[in-house]
């Protein structure tokens, strides 16, 4: 082994320890990441009998739920992400402002990070259900006379709205914590200088903080958009059959219809959308080399 190493790397002896330490994780990623990713595309291009064909993709595209699921998912992504970014930014600024009890604010804002999608969906069911908390409060205050049916399958945009609220509650913390970490790496002098020269909060955010925060913004946006494309349990808990999202279609084809090929076609489509979104963020928010830590 040693002789071989010396021969292989020329004059200097190579230290193999890091490679040995990395090997198990690389092997695992090959078997449980690269292989299934490749086989998702193989499955999508086959029929259930294993013959090569575009049939599974055609079945997916021809399905009545195809455009429904894609438009609902994209609508949710497009609405949720900007709101979530604004809320995450506001939370991060509050944490970074070092008000009294900073760690308490951070702890509260980060709570949903450990809460499951399904539990979060049900939490908001208790609020939006017809005899739920929101209607109870609205009626008590006399704002509405009779409770609004938030979860009505007939009003698409109300359903989208309540899922957006639930998703903002559930998944803002991951963006927030990345932004807080990024904010802490900006020297206080920069924002203080801007403040001394009379920059308003908005100007400071827009001209000083955002440009310096770009690497964190990039990571936060990519992570969050990819996760938002997979929106699943909150939609099922809140909207039931009122609308359908892409991951719901994926699981229906896999479990109820028992056709792994069409399910894989859906999975492949979500994968492609995630890759396009990632490239889009990298293109819109390029990070200069010197900014990369």
């Amino acid at each position: 082994m040693t002789a071989h190493t010396v021969e292989y790397t020329g004059k200097r002896k190579r230290n193999w320890a890091p490679y040995i330490l990395l090997a198990p994780s690389l092997l695992f990623l090959v078997f449980f990441f690269a292989t299934p990713m490749a086989s998702a595309f193989v499955l999508a291009l086959q029929t259930p009998d294993g013959a090569w064909s575009l049939e599974s993709i055609q079945t997916m595209v021809g399905d009545a739920n195809f455009t429904r699921a894609i438009s609902a998912t994209l609508t949710l992504v497009i609405i949720v992400i900007p709101f979530q970014l604004a809320l995450a930014m506001a939370m991060a600024l509050v944490v970074n402002k070092r008000l009294k009890g900073t760690s308490l604010w951070l702890y509260i804002y980060v709570l949903p990070l450990a809460i499951s999608e399904l539990a979060a969906g049900i939490v908001w069911v208790s609020i939006f259900t017809q005899k739920g908390w929101l209607n109870s409060i609205l009626e008590t205050l006399g704002i509405v006379e009779r409770g609004i049916i938030w979860q009505s399958a007939e009003s698409y945009w109300t359903l989208i709205g309540i899922i957006v609220v639930a998703e903002m509650w559930r998944a803002t913390s991951i963006m927030m914590i990345i932004l807080v970490a990024g904010l802490q790496s900006i020297p206080d002098e920069y924002t203080e200088a801007a403040e001394v020269y009379g920059a308003t909060l908005w100007q400071r955010v827009r001209r000083v903080i955002m440009p310096m925060l770009r690497p964190s913004l990039q990571v936060a946006l990519i992570l969050r958009i990819v996760l938002a494309i997979q929106v699943f349990a909150t939609a099922i808990a809140l909207a039931g059959t009122g609308l359908t999202v892409m991951s719901q279609q994926t699981i229906e084809w896999a479990n109820d219809i028992d056709n792994d090929n069409v399910a894989a076609a859906w999975a492949g489509l979500m994968l492609l959308m995630s890759i396009i979104a990632t490239i889009g963020v990298l293109w819109l928010l390029p990070v200069k080399d010197e900014q990369q830590v």
Partner: protein
Amino acid sequence: MTAPAVPADGTQQQAPPPSRRKRTPRKVLNTFLWYASAVLMAAFIIVPIYLIFVSATTPADATYNYPKSLLPEGIDTDNIQKFVNASGVIDAFWRSVIAGVITVVLALGIGAPAGYAIARYVFRGRDGYRLVVLSTRAFPIVILSIPLAVTFRNFGIYDTVWGVALMHTALALPFAVLITSSVFVSIPRELEEAAQTLGCSPARAFLRVSLPLALPGLTAAAIFTWVLSWNDVFAAAVLTLRNPTLPARILTSLTQASLPWQFAAAFVMLVPSLIVIFIIRRYLLGLWGRVVK
């Protein structure tokens, strides 16, 4: 950041930092607005959690009472007992716990050595490996459960906790590598080297010096990994049929279940999450802060 070369008094006279300026009414209003927004956003996070606790502990026959009282009228565990005694729930609970534990062991067993390697060694391919790990983290990993279900059927681990745990390990591995590497980076390598000059073998130096210091951080990483597994709905629903984990079990009866049952389910899923986030609260920023880049 660093101490100024000019005496502190001199610099302060030239440009007083904003915090030392006079308390103008505008400044007071400003501070008030910061606290008000901090409180508002905290309420947005906290109130729904409080409401689900009240909902879950309201007697089933009072669930539809109207208008609701915001204060709980006593704690009633009837709903929770009914949920726990529903068929398969206890088994599903234990399966979730076990799948989480297997995930922790696998993800840290495979990920921690890799994290140690990128924290301690400089070697060719280190940046490449980091890039692979960072990009797998921003990858819709759960949809890999579709092709994995096919593979697992062939290997006879479909519908078992092992299959679920392997999938969850793929989900958690990038986090495990990045978190453990940030933990090991924070421990000075000089300590290990000192132990080695005093006659310890490298392995012994690691076990007796670095490992004890890394233990709190590694524990936080383990807890975070466990909760990733505990919260997953999608992959568990695809990979199990008769032996679901708790979220998968809840998902299958979600549409037919009564509201009190759903509320109790959310309650049972929430409690461990809240405990977990409380235990690891001190590490969250460190974990994520360094995970960013």
